[in-house]
């Protein structure tokens, strides 16, 4: 079965990558040869194709989990699947669902090129900069932590001033942290199931390898911090925990769990890491659910709780709710994709699409079966 499924998955990813170019922004002059206006002038067809692709994505995901549980998927197979996923999706168009990667580049340019403080000066203050025509949040000061801005210097300089190379350097940079996170999940679980659950999760794959969101960088540092705690290296664990907060702040909510683990180490007591990951996942769920206070719940915020939830796959309620959220949050894009507006009924439908499926799953497992 896997001899068929792996090439099929590769073909599907290739199709999806090609589909991502239907969303090329009309103002993105650097990719004008790829601009077709398809996604903007054929909204219904695009939405149907996208929703159908998400379903297919989850069919593959379910098959991979099934094969993993049945021990029919070896570590080597997962490695091949990861290679295919990264290799193909690296070439996808990153602003298919979100324009954040342009914001990262613009903020990086404010600091490294214009030598201004991105927390004071906004990208749109540089009149005439070519990035302004397609960067959607150019009227905002830097939203992320200082370490993220500092780290973006690596892909920014690797771009050698060429926008396309810079864009793909950012994607490559994010892909490295994706691989690093998978490696940490493997090291901490020594189980292929959490690795499959995380690395092949459609939301993680889309938001990380296509859209290039920096949430994976924050998660990498916090997981590294927990990994170092398992090795009793408290100093470096604290260091990487702080570094994680300095990427995107959300992991600060893990502080109680982190301090509890340190206290256990200091007391030379045994740590139940499954409990640590379970509570970390719950805290990251809280951070995720509190995000509307700042702006709104974005699909990629699920990356905050997904790795912790998948590190304790025996907590079924957490597992199923997280998988359902992965699915429903990816469908959160469809109301805008269809209507082309953020106003009217779009926000309401987005909330319905995002929350009804996970709430139903939660009620089913918690309210009826009580299988926690």
């Amino acid at each position: 079965m896997k001899k068929i499924i792996i090439p099929l998955y590769g073909a599907f990813l290739l199709l999806f990558s090609i589909f991502s170019y239907a969303f090329v922004d009309p103002n993105l002059s650097y990719l004008k040869d790829f601009y077709s206006d398809f996604a903007f002038s054929n909204r219904l067809l695009t939405t149907i194709f996208y929703a159908f692709s998400i379903v297919i994505f989850f069919v593959f995901y379910s098959v991979f989990i099934y094969l993993g549980v049945k021990k029919k998927l070896s570590f080597k197979d997962v490695f091949v699947l990861l290679g295919i996923t990264i290799g193909i999706l690296f070439f996808s168009y990153p602003a298919m669902l979100s324009y954040d990667i342009f914001n990262y580049i613009a903020t990086s340019k404010v600091y490294f090129f214009y030598q201004e403080n991105p927390y004071v000066v906004m990208p749109f203050e540089f009149i005439g900069d070519p990035l302004l025509s397609f960067t959607h949040a150019a009227n905002k000061i830097a939203l992320y932590g200082p370490l993220w801005i500092f780290l973006t210097g690596i892909p920014y300089f690797l771009g050698f001033g060429n926008f396309i190379i810079t864009l793909f350097s950012f994607k490559f940079f994010i892909a490295i942290f994706y691989l690093g996170t998978i490696s940490l999940i493997w090291k901490m679980s020594k189980n292929i199931i959490p690795v499959i659950l995380f690395s092949l999760n459609p939301l993680v794959v889309i938001e990380t390898l296509i859209s290039g969101h920096n949430d994976i960088v924050m998660i990498f540092f916090v997981l590294l911090s927990f990994f170092l705690l398992t090795k009793k290296k408290v100093f470096f664990a604290v260091l990487f925990f702080i570094l994680s907060i300095l990427i995107k702040y959300s992991t600060i909510l893990l502080l109680p769990v982190f301090l509890y683990a340190i206290w256990k180490i200091a007391e030379k007591k045994e740590i139940n890491w499954k409990t640590i990951f379970y509570f970390s996942s719950l805290l990251m769920y809280i951070a995720f659910l509190l995000s509307p206070i700042r702006e709104e719940i974005y699909p990629w915020y699920a990356i905050w709780f997904i790795p912790f939830a998948f590190l304790v796959p025996d907590k079924k309620i957490l597992l199923y709710t997280s998988i359902t959220f992965s699915f429903s949050l990816l469908l959160r894009y469809t109301p805008y994709m269809l209507t082309g507006t953020y106003a009217g009924q779009t926000p309401f439908i987005k909330e319905i699409v995002s929350f009804i499926p996970p709430v139903l799953v939660f009620i089913y497992y918690y309210g009826l079966k009580k299988k926690i």
Partner: protein, 177 residues
């Protein structure tokens, strides 16, 4: 009948209100901040330290433009408040600080231009700010004496040439219009 009388009185009231209302024309769209803490308070000292430290936070040509303009505004508002309360020595000091920060603005814009940054918008902001500053300075100048001798207890008196101070402040700002 009663209603008719009421309406007449009401219209008459509005007529006089419009007739005797002093017209106020805004000379500049630029909006100054509210006055913050005043000299003598602990929070003023903390603000002062913060201002000096934040100089490094506002690095870069545009950053320094923002920093100097923000503080030029702040000290102008502070000077205005202090002069209104007849605290001439403190007001004079605040005015001199505002001048110093204002003088620092333009060199940063020139440097930004030399560094290839489009300064068109910033120049427009500076122009608006200059007009607003001059408007405020002229307003205070009319209310304060041209000179004043500040005689604190147990200390030597200070002679303040307020007329000269105001004409200098206006001159610095007129250069940027």
């Amino acid at each position: 009948m009663k209603n008719e009388k009421f309406i007449r009185l009401f219209l008459l009231f509005f007529f006089f209100l419009i007739l005797f209302k002093t017209p106020v024309f805004a000379q500049s769209n630029y909006v100054l901040s509210y006055p913050s803490s005043m000299p003598g308070s602990l929070s003023y000292k903390i603000h002062f330290i913060y201002e000096n430290v934040s100089r490094y936070w506002y690095f870069g040509d545009f950053g320094q433009f923002e920093y100097n303009l923000k503080l030029a505004d702040k000290y102008l508002v502070e000077a205005k408040t202090l002069f209104e309360y007849k605290q001439y020595l403190l007001g004079y000091k605040a005015l001199k600080k505002s001048d110093q920060y204002f003088i620092n603005i333009l060199p940063n814009l020139i440097r930004a231009g030399k560094n290839g940054k489009n300064t068109f918008q910033k120049k427009a902001v500076l122009n608006e700010a200059s007009q607003k500053h001059i408007e405020i300075l002229r307003e205070i100048e009319n209310r304060v004496p041209s000179s004043f001798i500040w005689e604190p207890e147990k200390s030597t008196p200070t002679s303040l040439d307020l007329k000269k101070a105001f004409s200098e402040s206006i001159h610095f700002r007129e250069k940027d219009i």
